[in-house]
């Protein structure tokens, strides 16, 4: 029963977390996963993904999911 967490770019450096695992709990949301990583409130411009698709903090997390947190993208 676990959830894989990934962080990228400035957020990865600030949290000091590239990849980690969290225990999955019933009713868990992406916001709950954030709170398990950091005592700070989620940054205003925080982006989240669930299983490689954009998601938001209210969205439910299923066992085995991959959840990612990252700042605004700057490719191209």
């Amino acid at each position: 029963m676990s959830v894989r967490i990934k962080c990228f770019a400035s957020l990865r450096q600030r949290l000091g977390i590239g990849q980690t695992e969290l225990a999955h709990r019933r009713g868990m949301t992406i916001g709950d996963a954030w709170r398990a990583l950091s005592e700070e409130p989620p940054p205003e411009n925080l982006l989240c993904a669930r299983n490689l698709e954009y998601a938001d903090l209210q969205q439910a997390v299923e066992d085995g999911d991959e959840i990612a947190f990252f700042p605004p993208v700057t490719g191209g």
Binding site: A9, L52, Y54, F70, V73, G75, G76
Partner: protein, 147 residues
């Protein structure tokens, strides 16, 4: 339709010519292309190197989705997207987008739309090395509106 992430420097116009050589001759009347490359100057400072981080897996998925969406919406005959990751030197290409269609309006609109979607949705992050140290690029410059 081809979407690729590259860890090494690439020659965009040669990639484009090579890809185009496989399209049915005489089928397309228009190709619009865009290449973004690394400048040696940004926001008032000299930039000596750049690192492009990305979210492997999600990036490819997002690029395929946004390119496919634009291709369908504009009735493209083909599209090509190549994006660099890793350590870059000034002048190296970062991104190539090309769109082929029967007439020019669709090719222009789709190429610009793919670039704008890529800039806002594809999971890449730029870190610049300047004489004052390293800094993450916080946001992209504004894009073009094409109708």
């Amino acid at each position: 339709m081809k979407v690729e992430i590259r860890a090494r420097a690439f020659a965009p116009w040669e990639e484009l010519a090579e890809h185009q050589a496989h399209l049915p001759p005489g089928s397309y009347g228009a190709c619009a292309a865009f290449v973004g490359s690394m400048r040696d100057f940004n926001e008032g400072e000299r930039v000596t190197a750049m690192t492009l981080e990305h979210y492997a897996g999600m990036t490819e998925r997002q690029l395929r989705q946004l390119t496919g969406d634009a291709a369908r919406r504009h009735g493209l005959l083909d599209a090509l997207v190549v994006h660099r990751v890793g350590a870059l030197q000034p002048n190296e290409p970062i991104v190539l987008v090309a769109a082929w269609s029967a007439h020019r309006a669709a090719a222009f609109a789709a190429c610009a739309e793919i670039m704008e979607s890529l800039k806002s949705r594809a999971t890449f992050w730029k870190k610049e090395s300047t004489p004052g140290g390293e800094r993450w690029v916080e946001k992209n410059t504004p894009g073009a509106n094409i109708e």
